[in-house]
Symmetry: C2
Subunit: 130 residues, 2 copies
DNA sequence: ATGCCGCCTGGAGTGCACTCCAGCGCAAGC
DNA sequence: GCTTGCGCTGGAGTGCACTCCAGGCGGCAT
């Protein structure tokens, strides 16, 4: 069974060492195994869970909700319905986020175009320069 | 020339009164005009600038960069090139944000599907219930 | 043997973007 | 004439998610 040192997990997941420790402290990560010297050794499972965390975090899920999700996962298979509900709810929020972002991006692009037009107008009337 | 009371601007822009005052304090909003009693009266221009601010903020631009943009706007037409550069740079970031969000959403949706499959499997083997 | 590296701990500090508060002023409605 | 509502100020406080720090440990390369 492969294990990962903290450094390797940092590399793999993109979370900082401090963040990994923080996540363990608050219970977003289950207590990580240790070697004889007391140093953390992450399992494959820890790393894949961190992949999920990264997904949820990067799509704007607050830590409190990820904690709730983590709890469901720990409680076993009978919570799968709840997990689906939680993720579907989040999925809807992500959908809305994307839609909002696209719409706002449109406005920004229109502003850019507006500025470009203004610039062109100005360049066509050099004699009116201040 | 129409003016807006603070309450109306809150209504229009969705920013809280405190946020409007905060934006003025830090210079994201130019000093807002006052009536005889010292109460703020926002111009049409203020409101439309706030619309731009909302766009930029909601697409993740930090306040420090919005401040920089505000400065360019105040410096007059000769900064239009810089404004375009700033907005195009931001537009690229928004693009990347959307792409990342879509990709992560895909992963979440696959996870949902995975859970649904697990649930279905489980339901098809009721005799193995614990 | 002596650095240095990677990692350990508990706890304090940071940065961002607000948000709240006490205490006040003015104006309109009952 | 007094309450209610809206707004004012300066300054303090909040919530989130980290991030940093001092002081220490164990292994290994020079």
């Amino acid at each position: 069974m492969a294990v990962y040192t903290p450094g390797q997990v940092v590399e793999e997941t993109g979370f900082s060492l401090d963040t990994l420790r923080y996540y363990e402290r608050i219970g977003l990560l289950e207590p990580v195994g240790r070697n004889a010297a007391g140093q953390r050794r992450f399992t494959e499972e820890d790393v894949s869970w961190l992949g999920m965390v990264r997904c949820l975090r990067d799509t704007g899920m607050p830590i409190s909700e990820m904690l709730r999700f983590a709890q469901l996962v720990r409680q076993g298979e009978h919570t799968i319905g709840d997990r689906i509900a939680l993720l579907e709810e989040h999925d809807r929020k992500v959908e809305a986020q994307i839609a909002d972002l696209c719409q706002k991006q449109g406005a920004i692009q229109r502003k850019i175009q507006y500025y470009k037009d203004v610039r062109t107008m100005r360049d066509m009337l050099p004699e009116q320069a201040s």
